[in-house]
Symmetry: C2
Subunit: 126 residues, 2 copies
């Protein structure tokens, strides 16, 4: 048995547009960015989240896109569950896996880290 | 004065992968899709939404991507506000505008339609 939930929406911003992206989305949504002054982190959090979903901008060395994160208490079991449903592994990064859905959207399976995990995660029988 | 809020996350699925996308995301998130049996609509709703955010799959005649929708009670005023912040118009569709942020992410400005609009929308002085 393991658990998982959709936890985050990430706007991946090419490195040269990240600063403009943070500036734009703060004002577009009327929210405050946290982490924009930490040059060693690629993540900037926008606002306080809604319904347990966090909203981030992430500096990437790639083209800009949007991806989703699913958090879980068992990364390997969740990756295998989603492979059986038609997703495929793209590559491991640190403690998580980048995957691709049947339509070509990228998403990540990451270790559980949110306050909402305990109450909102789905239970899957392995 | 006008109002706006981030209302939706849309997984745009190429026409040939839409059915597989609906099948995958229903089971990946453990939610029920609504609208999958309406062939004239390009939209399928996933689950009941979280924190006022709706989650859709949309059949598109383009490559798969993810985009955000902002709803507003004055589309033209909201488009002009976001242009001043650095976004640009890509093209009009029916009652809404497709726009591009400074990083190259597409998003749409759509007429207000959600129950959460009245209580969650931000107020902007024009």
């Amino acid at each position: 048995m393991h658990r998982s939930r959709l936890c985050s929406i990430l706007l991946d911003c090419s490195a040269e547009t990240m600063e403009a992206g943070v500036h734009f989305w703060q004002q577009a949504l009327g929210v405050t960015a946290r982490g924009a002054d930490e040059p060693t982190s690629p993540y900037v959090t926008l606002g306080g989240g809604a319904g347990g979903l966090q909203f981030y901008l992430q500096r990437v060395h790639d083209t800009s896109r949007i991806h989703l994160d699913i958090e879980t208490d068992n990364v390997e079991a969740e990756v295998q569950r989603l492979e059986k449903l038609g997703a495929r592994r793209k590559g491991p990064i640190q403690t998580w896996w980048v995957m691709e859905d049947p339509c070509g959207h990228l998403f990540c399976i990451v270790p559980a880290h949110s306050d909402a995990f305990a109450t909102q995660a789905q239970i899957w029988e392995d």
